[in-house]
């Protein structure tokens, strides 16, 4: 069960009217290394991971939904006042033809989200290594988005999200160490 707080994890402000940026940001919404994929990956893997790290996957998976909400807010703010002609000019004509201004789970190239983006192998190390890789890929995606965006307010929020990927990666690495070392147990051989 979840408790919903009706606010964003970090403020989302947009300085410039730039619908084209929304086209790129959607990568983190419905892309392979996006927040939806991350949330669903962790919240599904957690059922078959050792007890000690279930809580970690629950916490991080939940936070990914908070990030998803931030990306959705950016995309919505960047496109909400765009006319159909402005959408076409921003390279969002194909999106407009299908969705009007609605958000959709797809990547920057328009490919719809698919469960094949995520994996649940049932092997704790395989799953945690996938999670670490997912965090690093999301971190890199945020870097590329910061590189192509010149909106200082959007970049501020993107930097916050990138930093969270770093912290998540660290926690998944620690989870691997916990499973490796059997930490807390006094074992003598």
């Amino acid at each position: 069960m979840w408790v919903y707080e009706k606010k964003l994890q970090y403020p989302v402000r947009v300085s410039n009217c730039n619908p084209r940026l929304a086209k790129y940001l959607i990568e983190q919404y419905g892309g392979a290394d996006g927040e939806l994929a991350a949330a669903l990956r962790y919240l599904n893997q957690r059922y078959t991971i050792p007890d000690k790290v279930i809580g970690l996957l629950t916490d991080i998976g939940t936070e990914e939904f908070a990030h998803l909400e931030m990306i959705a807010t950016m995309v919505y703010k960047l496109t909400k006042d765009a006319t159909p002609q402005q959408m076409v000019a921003a390279g969002l004509g194909e999106h407009y033809a299908n969705h009007d201004g609605a958000l959709f789970y797809q990547n920057a190239a328009g490919d719809p989200w698919t469960a094949t983006y995520i994996q649940a192998k049932g092997d704790p190390i395989a799953d945690l290594y996938e999670d670490i890789a997912a965090e690093e890929k999301a971190r890199a995606t945020y870097q590329w988005l910061i590189d192509i965006s010149d909106d200082p307010d959007i970049n501020d929020s993107l930097r916050f999200l990138r930093e969270r990927e770093i912290v998540h990666s660290m926690r998944f690495r620690e989870a691997v160490e916990i499973l490796k070392e059997d930490k807390g147990k006094k074992k003598f051989f």
Binding site: R139, D147, F160, E163, R164, I166, V167, M170, R173
Partner: protein, 77 residues
């Protein structure tokens, strides 16, 4: 934890550029090697940000803070 002054979390290399390559050389390519790569398990008593700073930066721990900006920007001008 402190790091040596010469240490950087942004690495770069110069890709080979042939005289037959169609575009002018990009010069250096950059990539991040963020702080979590340098540590296996977070040790106790690391230095913390204030709560206000932590909410802004996205981490409570100074060691894990890594500001990122477009490394190619200077070249654009």
């Amino acid at each position: 934890m402190t790091r040596a002054k010469t240490f950087t979390l942004i690495k770069s290399y110069k890709p080979f550029h042939s005289k037959f390559d169609p575009c002018p050389p990009i010069g250096r390519k950059y990539f991040s090697t963020p702080p979590q790569l340098y540590i296996n398990f977070q040790p106790p008593n690391l230095e913390q940000f204030t709560p206000e700073e932590a909410l802004k930066y996205g981490t409570l721990w100074k060691f894990f803070y890594d500001f990122y900006d477009n490394p190619y920007r200077e070249r654009e001008t």
